[in-house]
């Protein structure tokens, strides 16, 4: 009886403390709150390969990724912020709006860029391609290989950067704009130039 009382009291006290410490997460508006897709790209590359092969964004729909990421939050011990960041990255990577081509695109607005190539690389590309360009995840090409990926033409590489691509034999695809849909054509040109001069 004494044991029962002690166990029950401990259970109630623990649950009470935990509930008191809980904070509101859900909002009346959109849920879950948007995360940072660029940080999510890094968190995705850092965390998801700890136990299993990294799954690419197109394997699931945006709504399926929500539940999947909350499941993984519990399984992998992710913080809520990492969960939202990775979710935003995966959902942004599923974005197919780059398939639409503006009929008479204004070159000045399409090419506008506020980021340097290095800024784009270190915020979006580095998660998978690494600081040395040799790749940190399976399937990421070695950008320092002189006869490798960067030996292609600017036009071909910009097309791949814009629309995403999957290398033959690679288990995972690079999402459109590296999963960062906010990047402009100018940003992509800058980062391509940065990669050519750096690696």
């Amino acid at each position: 009886m004494k044991n029962l009382i002690k166990s029950t009291a401990a259970l109630i006290a623990t649950a009470g403390l935990l509930l008191i410490s809980s904070t509101a997460i859900a909002t009346d508006g959109e849920w879950p709150p948007k995360g940072d897709a660029a940080k999510g790209a890094k968190a995705w590359a850092d965390n998801c390969g700890r136990c299993h092969n990294i799954r690419e964004s197109k394997e699931l729909r945006d709504d399926q990724w929500i539940t999947t990421m909350f499941h993984m939050r519990v399984r992998a011990g992710l913080t809520g912020q990492d969960t939202r960041d990775i979710l935003s990255f995966l959902q942004a990577s599923n974005n197919t709006t780059s398939n639409f081509v503006r009929p008479t695109a204004s070159k000045t607005t399409a090419a506008a860029s506020s980021l340097s190539g290095e800024e784009v690389y270190t915020s979006t590309c580095i998660a998978c391609h690494g600081g040395d360009g040799k790749g940190t995840v399976p399937g990421a090409p070695n950008l320092t290989d002189k006869s490798g990926r960067l030996s292609k033409s600017d036009d071909a590489l910009l097309k791949s950067l814009t629309n995403g691509m999957q290398s033959p034999g690679s288990p995972m695809a690079m999402p459109a704009k590296g999963g960062n849909s906010a990047l402009t054509q100018g940003d992509l040109k800058n980062v391509l130039e940065y990669m050519r001069t750096t690696f």
Binding site: T23, A26, D46, T67, G80
Partner: protein, 386 residues
């Protein structure tokens, strides 16, 4: 210069036409642009309408899980025997209410040798997301002690067709428990992700052969067989830059006794303790992981203390820019008077990140009288995670 009365209107008309001609051309181009834009807008509207269908409501229902199909060629004392078999079909159901609550349940369907279907509830929890750093889970959960059982055992994740010695059912690594669990993660600086899981549950049982603890039993008892709650957990640190994951597990409590011949609880109980440590390290295509676990069932009267421990080390290498992977693992388990060794090596073809074909050789050696413990095998498995 004099312009005649007849010529003046013609001149004005000609000048007007001449001045408007470029405008007409421009208008024609603009109309084409507008038409093209409208076509784009209509495409976008169609896409948005389709996307809206999947826009998240306040509740989400999701089905995940895994399954595997197997072939085994076993080297027995009577020669080689081979069989096809279905492994486990394990659907996982998720019901989520916003970012507050999620119900998760995994069922495992298997066939026995006679074709009869068995069903087990692997886990069933209601998870309450308290804040960014803690989730309260209630129900039946996979044991948070160690790494293999809670994260690696699904066939699409496990890089080999079988489990290491001591990490399957009845082994040194606890399988499941029923109770409450708090788990989550937090940052230590910018380069370390810490994760933790603490729990309190009904606990484990000692399967007794007379006065000898024959087997560690932790299926997740739906009643407390010893009357005292077990508690413990795991703390892990993931060093992001070096891709090194380290974990420590600890638990304590009591274990009820179950008679192995009748399957009934005897009412006796003894102390129970658990310690474990695990690691994962990745570098490029190399993935190294290992784990050590130990359960201790304390002495009771004339019945001696019993230790169950197991250890494995696994190395995998994924060939760059290919779908091929090679894996090797060595594992050993010890229980009172029994030592079992297993060496497994294989090659995997990764169709997609979650569809994997495995071919492996498994060598077994044990100091038991059961010849099955020494049988070597060639294993083929098709694993599918969904």
């Amino acid at each position: 210069m004099r312009i005649s009365r007849h010529l003046l209107p013609k001149t004005i008309l000609s000048l007007a036409l001449a001045s408007t001609y470029p405008s007409l051309l421009f208008a024609n181009n603009t109309n084409q642009e507008i038409e093209a834009l409208w076509q784009t807008v209509e495409q976008l509207q169609q896409k948005i309408a389709e996307a809206d269908e999947w826009k998240a409501p306040n509740t989400l229902i999701h089905l995940a899980g895994y399954a595997d199909i197997n072939y085994a060629n076993v080297d027995t004392i009577n020669g080689s025997e081979s069989s096809f078999s279905t492994g486990t079909f394990a659907p996982i159901f998720h019901y989520q209410v916003m970012d507050r609550v999620m119900l998760g349940a995994e069922l495992a369907f298997t066939l026995d040798e006679n074709g009869a279907t068995a069903t087990e509830m692997e886990y069933f929890t209601i998870d309450y997301f308290m804040n960014d750093y803690a989730t309260l889970a209630m129900g039946k959960f996979i044991s948070p002690l160690g790494q293999f059982r809670q994260n690696i055992h699904p066939s699409w994740i496990n890089k080999l067709p079988s489990a290491p010695q001591g990490f399957g059912h009845g082994g040194a690594a606890p399988i499941a428990d029923i109770g409450v669990q708090v788990r989550g993660g937090f940052k230590i600086g910018s380069s370390i992700n810490a994760n933790y899981a603490t729990y309190m549950g009904n606990g484990v049982a000692a399967e007794m052969d007379g006065n000898i603890v024959e087997e560690a039993h932790s299926p997740g008892f739906n009643a407390d067989v010893d009357g005292g709650k077990n508690f413990g957990g795991r703390f892990g640190m993931y060093m992001i830059d070096s891709k090194l994951d380290l974990g420590l597990s600890w638990a304590t409590g009591q274990a009820g006794e179950i008679d192995n011949s009748s399957g009934l609880q005897t009412g006796a109980k003894r102390d129970w303790d658990f310690i474990g440590t695990d690691f994962t390290w990745r570098l490029g295509g190399v993935d190294v992981r290992g784990e050590y676990v130990k359960q201790t069932y304390g002495a009771r009267g004339v019945s001696a203390k019993a230790d169950f421990d197991a250890v494995y080390i696994q190395v995998a290498y994924r060939f760059p820019s290919t779908k091929w992977e090679v894996v090797a693992r060595t594992s050993t388990s010890n229980s009172p008077g029994i030592t079992k060794d297993r060496v497994t090596a294989g090659v995997n073809y990764i169709f997609t990140s979650s569809v994997i074909a495995k071919l492996a050789y498994e060598g077994n050696d044990a100091n038991t009288t059961d010849i099955k413990d020494d049988e070597d095998k060639i294993l083929v498995q098709m694993a599918y995670g969904f």
